[in-house]
């Protein structure tokens, strides 16, 4: 792929890759290196760093370091699942819309845009408040938020590709529509979709960590970065680490994935940095087609 040389030359791409690798390693390998169980009590609450607990203890006297090492992979896992699901759904919807077209498609897309661009945290709160903090529900909700935006990108990309010669040719020779979609169209819309997926992943992480922070996601006593930030706020002045470290980790994780997705995007399209997605999604047309 011609992607790589340009990618490697980008400073921010390298930086974000390194950053992400570190965070990912902490998250995924971390649990195996945790010095203590994340559930056992090892001392008085909110003790400062000491020999037994390098980052001190938390609100119930558990080892902060162990809880941090074990508190990330669930967020990543759920975020990955939600992103994959949402992107898949979005691609299917978008390709179908872009290939079949029509006025109905327009109106539906517009309506869905406004409804689903509506602050998602609120809809998430709504659903979780009724059903409860169930993991699969959260994955579904977050995926549901991603699908329209991904669909838009997929649809826009499909619209352009559909005009291409090789597609016209395939239609002329009578290739079944499904085959055209899969063989001709899909491979050529992948690049903007990969970038979009990366951005969606960032947002998944943010939303899921946010729900956990509000107490509507992962429940105690399970260690989770978002939950830890809220649980340990009361003792911030005594032992700040159970709040500060998860804050840093979530920030680094989200910054890393965003920079990376952006770097890939620029490497792929040579795009002006930041010109894509000027808005977090709205009905305004100018923000729609950027890729």
């Amino acid at each position: 792929m011609t992607l790589w040389p340009r990618y490697l030359r980008s400073g921010s791409a390298i930086f974000s890759t390194v950053l992400l690798t570190i965070v990912f390693l902490t998250t995924i390998i971390g649990p195996f290196f945790a010095p203590a169980s994340s559930l056992d009590f090892i001392g008085a609450p909110f003790q400062g760093p000491n020999a037994h607990a390098w980052l001190g203890t938390d609100v119930l006297g558990r080892d902060v370091l162990s809880r941090i090492l074990q508190g990330g992979y669930r967020i990543l896992g759920l975020a990955a699942a939600a992103t994959a699901l949402g992107v898949l759904a979005g691609i299917l919807l978008g390709m179908a819309a872009g290939y079949i077209k029509g006025a109905v498609d327009e109106i539906i897309m517009r309506l869905l845009d406004v409804v689903l661009a509506f602050p998602q945290i609120i809809l998430a709160l709504l659903f979780v408040s009724i059903i409860g903090p169930v993991p699969w529900l959260i994955v579904l909700i977050v995926a549901g938020f991603h699908a329209p935006q991904v669909a838009r990108v997929a649809r826009a990309a499909t619209l352009r590709v559909v005009e291409e010669d090789y597609v016209r040719f395939a239609e002329t020779i009578g290739m079944p529509r499904l085959r055209i979609l899969v063989q001709e169209i899909f491979p050529n819309i992948m690049t903007p979709l990969i970038v979009e997926a990366g951005l969606r992943f960032t947002y998944s992480i943010a939303l899921i960590a946010g729900l956990n922070f509000l107490g509507l996601g992962t429940q105690p006593p399970i260690p989770d970065w978002g939950l830890m930030i809220n649980e340990n706020r009361i003792g911030m002045a005594t032992n700040p680490w159970p709040v500060v470290v998860p804050v840093l980790l979530i920030a680094l994780l989200t910054i890393g994935t965003n920079l990376l997705a952006d770097a890939i995007g620029r490497a792929a399209f040579g795009l002006d940095r930041g010109s894509r997605e000027t808005q977090p999604a709205s009905s305004d047309e100018t923000a729609t087609v950027q890729a």
């Binding site: 008085a44 119930l60 105690p220 002045a237």
Partner: protein
């Protein structure tokens, strides 16, 4: 005066650290002992210098909500408690050492069979509306509480009283006959939050009492304001111009930061871990109470699996009580042994629960409940409650028991009070038999364990007929044995509570009843 046994236990068991000094100081009265030994440590509430008149005290308490009330006889939450204690007084009360003392009553004398009491009232007391306090008001209060058409919270306590035949002998004397022997009437009446005296014609929308402060304004779930009652019977008191109770805070962080920011002067029932923060200076100090408050786990003895006494015993054996105190209360408490009435002179200190996980597992297996899963309906009424639930759940794993915690909101909890199979509640210290009437008889309004033991019930009735307190104590000890062996309560600790306040707040003493601010001693408090 102090229970010396518990003091030694506290100070002798573990290495002498700052925390131990703190508690030792608290147990020693107004917190002066040891204060000079603590370098840069927590500033304890000092003994008053010369009280200053004037000032508006603002008190933050969490736990309020839609059910907030000013009614003298239907309190629910800790802010309600604070309100009641500013407005009303009872015939008797418990002092800061848990001892029974007279307030609006001068004396209460029983007959030989404990079936009739002669109550003589204090003279010179007036209500906030100027009306003189008389015997007719006491009769009215009792009848209001025990009205069979609308019984209020104290009704159970007054059940033995023959309300229809209360006789007013003169303005300051009452004859109170009882239907069944009721030797502990004075003890029962010491719960001011159930038996606050109100005047004839009392209207809760315009509440009037004899307390040091009178009603000014009230917004449920937000705040209530009380101003000095100049006609208060204790002359010279209160010192403060007004007391405002604010319970709109969403959580402890908000309340604490309001205190730090000078928005409020006191944060009552503060989260225990906050004490460490104020030792670093900043114009704040802590009033640490003596242990007395307790937060029991209720197991419904009429519902599976807790209907099996072996399961109940197992659930009591698996608790590592000291660890629970250390982790959820930051060490602020003493071990409890599943029997209430801690400071009752009749309390049996020989009943000690061991921590025996193996025995617990054995009992569970024996009763066919290996690898049991239960749901604990937890509620955040006081600091440490939710943490205690989490620590318990963690400890239960060692015995193969999985405890799933379901966090309830205050409203949900109270709307189904008494129906939860496995839940928590909080109690302040009251004399043993008073609590029995409230919690462990089939007629008790707060019998969350649905406990009904006929021998136990008989013993209670027998105790109520014994006027001599030491003879009564023997019967109490019998009852406590039953509590200990078969009851549905898990009382892992008697907790200390902490009230954080600005340094200029004076006059509050450390109490062992579990009521904050030294039994809400607003009358004697002042702002320097």
């Amino acid at each position: 005066m102090e229970d010396s046994k518990s003091l030694t236990h506290l100070l002798g068991d573990r290495p002498f650290g700052r925390r131990e000094l703190l508690r030792g100081a608290a147990l020693g009265g107004a917190g002066l002992i040891g204060a000079s030994l603590l370098p840069g440590a927590v500033k304890l509430a000092q003994a008053a210098t010369t009280p200053k008149r004037g000032g508006d005290l603002r008190v933050a308490i969490t736990g309020g909500g839609s059910t907030d009330t000013l009614d003298a006889h239907t309190m629910n939450t800790s802010p309600d408690l604070a309100r009641v204690m500013t407005l009303y007084e009872g015939l008797t009360t418990l002092d800061t050492d848990g001892k029974l003392i007279n307030v609006l009553a001068e004396s209460l004398e029983p007959n030989a069979t404990a079936t009739e009491w002669i109550i003589k009232l204090r003279k010179g007391v007036t209500f906030h509306n100027g009306k003189a306090f008389k015997a007719e008001d006491v009769a009215f209060t009792f009848r209001r509480i025990g009205d069979p058409k609308n019984p209020l919270q104290g009704a159970t306590g007054l059940k033995p009283v023959d309300l229809d035949n209360i006789q007013i002998i003169d303005d300051h004397t009452l004859r109170v006959p009882t239907k069944t022997p009721f030797a502990t009437l004075p003890e029962t009446l010491s719960a001011v939050y159930y038996f606050g005296i109100v005047p004839v014609g009392y209207d809760p929308k315009n509440p009037v009492g004899t307390g040091p402060f009178k009603y000014e304004s009230f917004t449920p779930g937000q705040q209530s304001v009380f101003t000095r009652y100049d006609g208060y019977w204790q002359s010279g008191l209160p010192y403060l111009d007004s007391v405002t109770i604010i319970d709109s805070f969403q959580n402890d962080t908000a309340a604490f930061n309001a205190l730090q920011g000078g928005e409020v002067d006191i944060y009552a029932y503060a989260t225990l871990s906050l004490v460490n923060q104020i030792s670093q200076g900043g114009g704040l100090k802590a009033l640490v109470s003596k242990p007395g408050l307790y937060v029991p786990f209720y197991m419904r003895t009429d519902v599976a699996p807790f209907d099996d006494v072996n399961v109940r015993k197992a659930f009591r054996l698996l608790v590592d009580r000291q660890q629970l105190i250390d982790q959820s209360l930051n060490g602020y408490g003493i071990v409890g042994n599943d029997v209430f009435g801690r400071w009752d002179p009749a309390y049996d200190e020989s009943l000690v629960r061991s921590h025996d996980v193996d025995q617990a597992k054995f009992l569970l297996k024996k009763s066919g409940h290996e690898n049991l899963t239960v749901e604990l309906s937890s509620i955040d009424l006081l600091p440490g409650m939710v943490q205690a639930a989490q620590v318990y759940a963690q400890q239960a794993k060692a015995a193969g028991v999985t405890v799933n915690i379901r966090q309830l909101t205050t409203d949900t909890y109270y709307s189904q009070y008494g129906k939860w199979a496995f839940t928590q509640d909080y109690w302040v210290y009251q004399p043993y038999l008073t609590v029995v009437a409230l919690a462990t008889l089939p007629t008790s309004p707060y019998n969350g364990t649905h406990w009904n033991n006929s021998r136990y019930n008989d013993l209670y009735n027998h105790a109520q007929s014994i006027v001599d307190s030491s003879k009564r104590a023997e019967v109490i000890r019998e009852m406590q044995k039953i509590d200990f062996e078969e009851g549905g309560l898990i009382i892992p600790s008697f907790n200390q509570t902490i009230d954080l306040m600005a340094e200029n707040v004076q006059g509050f003493e450390s109490a062992n009843t579990g009521n904050a601010l030294g039994n809400f001693g607003f009358a004697k408090s002042w702002l320097a």
